[in-house]
């Protein structure tokens, strides 16, 4: 063979003239430096310019899109609310030996008393209640109820007995002096901690001067704990607490709500006390952390997300497949028609893009409902009896029909752009070689249009897997997607952690599919235009 390729392979322009090939080693530019170096230097300016041109959009996307998403995804594992609201309880639970067989001991309740008292003042106990309610129903009302009660606990007997034994203990100024002495603080750890919390609370939440306020009961309760433990720091008034009348904090909690002595509730609090949790993700796949801390399936009647994920997947596949089925012939026609007619048809294809999504979906509602146009027509034609009107909406069928219609252009356009590049001479060549219309299509045209099917499918599938509005309107309960559940958790149940976990799983799912697709079909084969 004498002839070679008609077009030589394109090579990047050398930055500097006089590139020479030495016997060994890299190509050198005229000044003796490696040619690659010189090329990079010459291109740097261009690269910088290109970067400057895209930077406004880049910054916008980083600030308005990537950062919020990252923050949102972070919420799927973030769980600081328990340890922030109940720091002392969390610490005490770590020491406790009773769980999970029995309710924790008195120290945990004493810690909870302080925590909950402060939380109630800050009103943060209801937020914690809602958070823990995701893991176990009833915890929200438990926290709310006890939050109301905690200020009226009968711990004032300690206050009264202390003030009776040592009147100076009533004076916040004296307290302030004591609490500035390191020896006293070291000797009375619970008291010091409670005092600091009270001062902070008084200043921050109530905007009062601690020097003019009555010291709260929980500080005296803490003092009793310290002194009962045998503490006797120098400089602090000597009070003999051995004769004090006592009260069990645990009993007080039990009195407020007997659930407080239920070890199961304490197990939940303990399980969710770390700052990061896999609980939302387990919840997303219908699992939970069991009493012994191991992941286990939720009860069958609470399993919903796997079913929803599965439904989202197969319905998206069904929608994608319907789009291929309906879109392929149209795209074929578009690509083979003369330009003028193809343009008219193209406008018809694009028409849905110019109509509001809501209008289109609502139109489907009118068409598909039991008393709607389609059912009426079928009844009128006698195909369906009046009593057995088809259920075409508020179920999976409705979602598939409406979504197929909405996503069809996303299938047709890539298909068309790929088919447009298949020269008509291929079909002619096939036929001239003796292939009939079908063989020519199946052996030649179809394989060449596969990249278009791939591009259209990946577009339609990914769009549909995250679709929200249409399933919400026409899907009823049987035709909603996982995204509807995410939206519910974002805006109604306010369980953002779960919403974030579901969203993260959805994102991972799409990326995995994309990766698999790249492996099988090759993303380079996908042509979205040109």
């Amino acid at each position: 063979m004498t002839d070679s390729a008609t077009t030589p392979p394109r090579q990047p322009m050398a930055a500097l003239p006089g590139g020479e090939v030495t016997e060994e080693g890299p190509m050198l530019a005229a000044d003796g430096r490696p040619l690659k170096h010189s090329l990079n230097r010459a291109l740097r300016r261009e690269k910088l310019r290109a970067f400057l041109l895209v930077s406004p959009l880049l910054i916008f996307i980083l600030v308005a899109f990537v950062a919020p998403i990252a923050d949102m995804l972070f919420r799927s594992v973030e769980n600081q609310i328990v340890s922030e609201t109940l720091p002392r309880t969390v610490a005490a639970l770590r020491e406790d030996q009773n769980l999970p067989q029995a309710a924790p001991g008195e120290p945990v309740y004493e810690a909870l008393y302080t925590d909950l008292f402060i939380a109630a003042e800050y009103k943060s106990h209801t937020r914690l209640g809602s958070r823990l309610n995701y893991e176990m129903t009833g915890l929200s009302s438990l926290f709310r109820g006890t939050g109301r009660d905690v200020g009226r606990f009968d711990t004032d007997i300690y206050t009264d007995q202390f003030i009776e034994a040592e009147p100076a203990l009533e004076d916040p100024v004296a307290w302030t002096n004591w609490m500035e002495q390191d020896e006293i603080r070291a000797g009375l750890p619970f008291t010091a901690d409670a005092w600091d919390a009270w001062v902070k609370l008084t200043v921050e939440a109530n905007e009062d001067d601690p020097l003019e306020e009555d010291v709260e009961d929980f500080v005296y309760t803490a003092l009793y704990r310290d002194l009962a433990n045998g503490a006797d720091p120098e400089g602090f008034p000597d009070v003999d607490v051995s004769e004090f009348e006592t009260v069990s904090i645990k009993a007080l909690f039990e009195e407020s709500d007997e659930d407080w002595v239920d070890p199961e509730i304490w197990q939940v609090i303990k399980t969710y006390s770390p700052a990061y949790t896999d609980g939302y993700f387990l919840n997303s796949v219908d699992m939970m952390n069991g009493p012994d801390g191991d992941a286990q399936w939720r009860p069958a009647d609470e399993q919903i997300y796997l079913k929803l994920f599965w439904r989202t997947m197969w319905m998206s596949l069904a929608i994608t497949f319907s789009c291929i089925l309906l879109g392929y012939p149209i795209a074929y026609l578009l690509s083979t028609l003369p330009l003028r007619s193809a343009n008219v048809l193209m406008i018809l294809v694009l028409l849905p893009f110019w109509t509001s999504l809501l209008v289109r979906t609502s139109a489907w509602k009118v068409l598909l409902q039991q008393q709607g146009v389609i059912n009426d027509t079928l009844v009128w034609l006698g195909i369906v009896s009046d009593a057995n009107r088809l259920a075409l909406i508020n179920n999976a069928t409705g979602t598939v029909i409406a979504m197929t219609h909405i996503l069809l252009p996303f299938m047709i356009l890539p298909l068309y752009s790929v088919m447009k590049t298949i020269p008509p001479s291929y079909m002619r060549a096939a036929k001239s070689m003796g292939a009939n219309d079908w063989t020519a299509f199946w052996r030649v045209w179809f394989p060449l249009s596969v990249p278009g099917i791939g591009a259209g499918s990946i577009l339609a599938f990914i769009l549909s897997i995250g679709y929200y509005i249409t399933p919400e309107i026409v899907g009823g309960t049987e035709g909603v997607f996982i995204s509807n559940r995410i939206a519910y958790h974002i805006s109604s149940s306010l369980n953002w952690g779960l919403a974030a976990a579901l969203g993260t799983i959805l994102l991972a799912l799409v990326l995995t599919l994309y990766w698999v697709y790249d492996r099988i079909v090759g993303i380079d084969n996908v042509k979205l235009g040109g």
Partner: protein
């Protein structure tokens, strides 16, 4: 001029017309017949109807009127895949998703040949175009020339008797085109196949064909072997289209069977051969090939009419000289002379006289 053994018509167009829009005829009354084994080229400018004719023969377009016969049978209503005609396209039309071997296997598979038969025929066809070792390559890995060889092999692998070629060399560079021109004609004659070849390149048409059909405006303007086409064009379109040509316009002043006198619009009188003129007073366009223009008047008949000419430009081309002259009011008159020792090298502005043999100057339609 057919080189095949048979003189019977193998492909026949009879009164074929074609219109796409119902308003304009793209092909007007086409009559053409070619014997088995002939290499016929359809030559013409774009839009002249040549490709449409080829497509009608292949079956991709239907004739609006008339009949197309292949080997005596009308094929008007036979779909393309049943015609058994091989075809080579300008863009090669090799299937990019198949290897070279698979491409060649395609026509054999649809004919349900056994695997061993296929392998054998593919190997033979590839050897024929000297591409044996490229069987497992993809078409995109081949150069244009290699692709066209494969396309040729694919059109021949199922042994059709008729092969159509639609500007197969149009996308190749000049040198490659010349090599392949030779290879295609050689192959066609060796295999004894009938070829209908479409091109707009007149050199290609002249060098490759047994006969050339010059198309213009939906009609065959002239159907003749290459030498006749070049030397004896039947009308001014053919004269203009094939090769380089000087044209002068005038009125027939005197006419007999073998010669005529034409008075040019500038007043000069010249000798010409009447081709498309029949009576005195008729307007005509005379055509003279540049290499038939003579500046050495001694070589002409003593009674020959000559014309004054002014040298505008003298171009040295190596083997020839190309002189642009101002003659009878036109300054695009070209004279081509051989580079011989006695041939003068003219200078711009020089005044000379030129003439020609009457039979080299053809009086055609106006």
């Amino acid at each position: 001029m057919a080189q095949g053994s048979s003189t019977e018509a193998f492909v026949e167009f009879e009164r074929v017309q074609k219109s796409y829009d119902g308003e304009k005829l793209v092909v007007k009354d086409l009559n053409l017949s070619l014997p088995k084994g002939e290499f016929l080229t359809m030559l013409g400018p774009s839009g002249s109807g040549k490709t449409t004719c080829l497509m009608m023969l292949a079956g991709f377009e239907t004739a609006t009127h008339g009949e197309i016969r292949l080997d005596g049978k009308s094929i008007n209503n036979i779909p393309p895949h049943k015609r058994g005609i091989g075809m080579v396209f300008q863009n090669y039309a090799l299937f990019p998703h198949m290897t070279v071997g698979e491409n060649l296997s395609f026509p054999l598979e649809v004919r349900k040949l056994s695997k061993s038969e296929r392998e054998q025929k593919i190997a033979r066809a590839l050897d024929m175009v000297q591409m044996g070792e490229f069987k497992n390559r993809r078409p995109t890995q081949l150069s244009g020339g290699q692709q066209q060889r494969i396309a040729l092999a694919r059109a021949l692998v199922f042994e059709p008797e008729l092969v159509l070629m639609d500007e197969p060399l149009g996308a190749l560079d000049k040198q490659l085109r010349e090599t392949l021109q030779f290879e295609i004609t050689e192959l066609a004659h060796r295999l004894g196949i009938t070829v209908v070849y479409v091109t707009h390149d007149q050199t290609e048409a002249l060098t490759m064909s047994d006969r050339v059909a010059v198309f213009d405006d939906g009609r065959i303007q002239q159907l003749a072997p290459p030498d006749e086409l070049y030397e004896k064009p039947q009308n001014s379109f053919v004269a203009q289209f094939i090769g380089e040509n000087n044209t002068l316009e005038g009125v027939v002043e005197k006419i007999d069977a073998t010669t005529c006198l034409v008075r040019l619009d500038g007043g000069e009188v010249i000798d010409a051969l009447p081709v498309n003129v029949s009576k005195v007073g008729e307007r005509t366009r005379v055509s003279i090939r540049p290499e038939r223009v003579e500046s050495n008047l001694e070589r002409l008949h003593p009674d020959a009419h000559t014309l004054p000419a002014t040298v505008q430009e003298f171009i040295y081309m190596g083997d020839t000289f190309r002189t642009r002259l101002k003659v009878a009011g036109r300054d695009d008159f070209i004279m081509k002379t051989r580079n011989a020792p006695d041939q003068p090298r003219l200078k711009p502005g020089e005044q000379i006289r030129i003439g020609w043999l009457a039979e080299d100057c053809r009086a055609l339609d106006a």
